[in-house]
Structures are given as structure tokens and as C-alpha cells.
Amino acid sequence: MSAIQTVVKEKQKLSLDKDVQEESIISAKGLNLWYGNDQALKNINLEIPEKQVTAIIGPSGCGKSTFLKTVNRMVELVPIVKINGNIDYHGVNIFDSKVNLVELRSSVGMVFQKPNPFPKSIFDNIAFGPRVHGIKKKAELTKIVEKSLRASGLWDEVKDRLGESALGLSGGQQQRLCIARCLAVEPEVILMDEPTSALDPKSTLKVEELIQELKEKYSIIIVTHNMQQAARISDKTAFFLNGEVVEFDNTDKIFSNPTDKRTEDYITGRFG
């Protein structure tokens, strides 16, 4: 082996190491979760990198959506949930009794599987979050609404009908509206629970492009059933199976050269 080759190898190794050590914004440590007596998450350890897209893939019922809903503590709406372990966000465990849920959920936003705009006008949909957080002035709200709609690429399509019901938009527009609504509260992290599974291919493409743009400013965790989607848009991928993280690595690595046999079986379509 020539000297140059050795140097290149070393460099690659170093950059790999650097990748592993990059800033993480959310880190789950030994996270366990039960619905009643059924354990849905088993000892989850994940470091979610800042300003990147992290995809979570896995078959139905593997706990990927549960994990996502745990990050903003929405999972606690299910009355029988029990959780132990930590999720650290800015070094604070989100399960700490001192954590303010309103604050947590305004910095960790969420986009749902089915577009769920409120039965209100487009304007009021976007303004809902800011209003909840105490912004009352119309001028300020107008500014936020425009900014959020521009960021989600919806502004040109709806600017002339902000007063109309959001339910009159198409499915794809509704989902981008939901993303805009989420951006309006200025989150740091955006959780997306299969955001394109109810959309047609064209709208899916638009949302995927939007996700690519958003990662400049936001850290995104996306749960998806669609492995091509994960490969297309994510930087890191976690493969969940039966409530455990089987493998978590750079997306390229997961899809080209997975370490675990089960990951390989899943991504090559042998099950799931």
C-alpha cells in the first residue's frame, strides 16, 4: 500500500470520526416506553444531529412513530403510557418536571401523517401558534404569516385568499400549510410523521424539496415508510425493529453497505 493511499484512508477515517462527533441537538439515552404492559420502545439510544435530516425507517409497529411522538411528549396524551430513560434537548432532560410543555412544543414542532389544518381560514391556521404564544398585534401576525407561507413555498398560491378556509386547499397544499403553521412558532426541530404518505407523487416531490430547503435552518426528524424517500432526503437513517434501534448511521452507509443483516433484509425488501 502506497503512502498516499494510507494518508487518504486516515483522512477518511478522521472525517468519519468527525461525522460521529458532530453537534447533536437531541439525544435519547436508554429510552424505554410502555403502552400498558406492551413495551413499544426498548433502550433507545440516538443522537439526532443538528440541521440535518434524520430518517427513521422500519416496518409498521416498530415504534418509529412512538419515538417521534415521545420527542415532543405528545405520546403522553395516551393515558396508559409509561416512560423511563432520558431524551436530552440542549442538555435538559425533556421528562424533567421543570420542563414547560408549551415551550418544548414550540421549539419542537410536528407535522402529521394526514394533513390536519384547522377548520379556519388560511391566515388563522398560521397565526394560531403565534397567538397561543401571546402575539396579538395584527401587523406582527401578518408578517409571520407571510414569512411562514413563503418558507413553505405556499405564498404565491394562497396570498390572494388568506381569508378563505384552509379546507379548500388541495391535500398537498394542506400539508405545506401544516408545515408553515409549524414554522410560524419558530421551532428548532421539526418532527415529521410520514408527511407525504397521504399525498400524490407531485405533492410529495414538493414536500421533499421543501424538506431539503428547511434543513438549512432546522433539524428534521422524519418517519417514513418509503425507503426511497429516506434515501433521497435524509443525511442519517435509523432503522427501527420491534422497538429497538437496529442500526443508525449515515444514510449512504445504511443503503449501500448496512452492517446488520436485518437492515439489509429490510431495505432490500425481504420483509416489512
Binding site: 405528545m74 402529521f112 379546507l167 379548500g168
Partner: protein, 333 residues
């Protein structure tokens, strides 16, 4: 040769099959078409009968009341304050005291029942733990099947002395007493329909609101209740219908004196809830049994029924308009 033969046979079979299929196809379609036709007609007939009966009642009211309207004039009924239909000299046919009585008692009942009912509905649908809900919901429904005479009796012997004591009146049978007891009667309708419509608000809306950092109260106030508004309005309107049409309870609770239930306060005319009133329904019940058949008095009672009908009709019309406007706003159609 044999191959050709076989082919022919197969073709024949295919033809047969086609014919069979055609036959069963037409048979089936004939059968289901006839059934469809009959069922459709059946619905049409039932629907028509309902409308026909309604029109018949209206026709009957107008026919029987037209005599009095022609003789006395509708304005006398609507604006007159004197009701002496059987007095030989100086007969008066003013139904305004009854109209005011009905409106006051009903409005009073709704003022109490709307906030009470809606908050109870929200509590049952959104806040109460399952145990409490399982007790509360049937309890509310039992309230609905209480005979009105029982509630009237409660008003008579329990509520009216309390009202008399609190306000220092000699007689506790007042518009206020009737309002309170009527509110209890309107309550189950309002609660049960509002609760159903709050429950049917998709859980997606709530999740979205929570995920944006809204608290439970903010979610109820700004998302759930507005989304359920049309159902709540419908519940309130049905509650109104229940209250305005109720006879026995008000008959026992309101005192039934024929007077203008108003008072002057600082030069302004205000409704007086602390006086005895007679409602439209109560007047028909009191006088209807011993009125001479076919007399002017008899006819004027039908005019009162007609007024009652028009009031309910208008309120229901407004409710319908409100509900459909709300629906249009929601779906953007």
C-alpha cells in the same frame, strides 16, 4: 378436422356462457331496479306525508284563526295589551302579554341553560375522567325523561318559596321561577347534542393544537368548541323549542296572571322577571278547555297558536341558516 370440431365446440360453449351471463345480468338488474324504485318511492311517500301533516296543521290553524283575524285584526293581537275575549262590553284581544311572557320565560331559561349546558358538555366530552363521564351522561339523559309535571311540582313547592324569600315577594310564582325550572328542562337537549358534536371533532385538530404548544383550555376554546359550533347551535335551538313549547311546567310555575310583565327603571322599560306571567302555551291550556266552540274567543286561541308556530318557525329558520353558513365556511363550498 377434430381440432376444428373442438374449436367449434368451445366457441359454442363460450356463446352459451355469454347468453347465460346476459340473462342473469338482466334478471338481477331488473330485480334490483324494481326494489330500488320501490324503496325510493317509499322514502318519497314518507317524506311527503310528514310535510303534508305539517301543512295540514298550519292550514287548520289558519282556517280556525282566520275568523278572529278578520274580525279583530292581526295588529290587535300582536300589539294589544288587554286580553278580555269573553267580556261582552269592551272585549280585548291583545296577546302581547302572552308573547312577552313566552319570550321572557324562554329567554330567561336559555340565559341559564346555554352556559350551564355548554360547559357541562365540554366537561363531559373533554375533561371528565371516564368514570365520571359514565355516570354523568346517563344522569343528564334521565333528566330529559322526567315528566314535566314533576318539575312543575318542584317549582311550585320548592323553588317558588325560595324565590319569594330571596326577593321579598308575596308570591313566588314568577317569570324567574319558570325560567329556572325551564332551564333544567332545556338542559339535557343542549348538553347531549353539544356533547355529541364536540366529541365528533376529529382528534387531528386537537393533536395539531397541542403540538403547536396550546394548552388544553386554549385547545378547547379556540379549536374544539368553534369546530363543534354548528352542533352546539343546533342543540341550543332544540332547547329553545323545548322551552317555548313547554306547557305544564310553566303553567305550574309562572303564576299565569294576565299582565304586562314590564317595569319602568330610570325611565327605561324593562322586562320584569319578578312578576307573574302567562305564556302563549299556558293561555291555550287554561282557556282552551271551556271556550264555546266556534266563538270569537275559540278562534282567537288559534291565533295565539299561530303566533307560537311562527315564533318557533323563525327561530328554527335562523338556526338552519346559521348552521349552513357555518358549514359553508368550513368546507369552502
Amino acid at each position: 378436422m377434430s381440432l376444428q370440431h373442438a374449436e367449434k365446440e368451445v366457441n359454442q360453449e363460450v356463446e352459451d356462457l355469454k347468453i347465460v351471463n346476459k340473462e342473469t345480468l338482466t334478471q338481477k338488474s331488473f330485480k334490483s331496479n324494481t326494489l330500488d324504485f320501490l324503496i325510493e318511492k317509499m322514502f318519497f311517500v314518507f317524506g311527503s306525508i310528514a310535510i303534508f301533516v305539517l301543512l295540514l296543521i298550519l292550514f287548520f290553524l289558519i282556517r280556525e284563526g282566520s275568523g278572529a283575524i278578520r274580525e279583530v285584526g292581526i295588529m290587535e293581537f300582536l300589539t294589544g295589551t288587554r286580553w278580555y275575549p269573553s267580556s261582552p262590553q269592551g272585549a280585548g284581544y291583545g296577546a302581547l302579554p302572552f308573547i312577552l311572557g313566552s319570550l321572557m320565560v324562554t329567554t330567561g331559561a336559555l340565559v341559564i341553560a346555554i352556559p350551564w349546558g355548554i360547559f357541562t358538555a365540554i366537561f363531559i366530552a373533554e375533561i371528565a375522567p371516564r368514570r365520571v363521564r359514565e355516570i354523568l351522561k346517563p344522569a343528564v339523559e334521565v333528566l330529559a325523561i322526567f315528566p314535566s309535571v314533576v318539575l312543575g311540582f318542584i317549582a311550585l313547592v320548592i323553588l317558588s318559596p325560595i324565590v319569594a324569600n330571596v326577593f321579598g315577594l308575596s308570591n313566588g310564582l314568577t317569570a324567574l321561577t319558570a325560567s329556572v325550572i325551564l332551564s333544567v328542562m332545556a338542559l339535557p337537549t343542549i348538553i347531549s347534542i353539544s356533547e355529541d358534536s364536540i366529541k365528533s371533532v376529529p382528534k387531528d385538530y386537537r393533536e395539531a393544537a397541542y403540538a403547536l404548544g396550546a394548552t388544553r383550555w386554549e385547545t378547547i376554546k379556540t379549536i374544539t368548541v368553534p369546530a363543534a359550533k354548528s352542533g352546539i347551535v343546533a342543540g341550543v335551538m332544540l332547547g329553545f323549542g323545548r322551552a317555548v313549547g313547554e306547557t305544564m311546567t310553566v303553567l305550574m310555575a309562572a303564576g299565569n296572571a294576565i299582565n304586562m310583565p314590564i317595569t319602568e327603571f330610570l325611565g327605561v322599560t324593562l322586562p320584569n322577571f319578578l312578576t307573574s306571567v302567562r305564556t302563549l302555551t299556558a293561555n291555550i291550556a287554561i282557556e282552551g278547555s271551556d271556550v264555546p266552540w266556534g266563538s270569537l274567543h275559540y278562534s282567537s286561541l288559534f291565533v295565539i297558536a299561530l303566533i307560537l308556530f311562527v315564533i318557533t318557525f323563525i327561530v328554527n329558520l335562523i338556526a338552519d341558516l346559521l348552521i349552513s353558513r357555518q358549514r359553508r365556511k368550513l368546507t369552502n363550498e
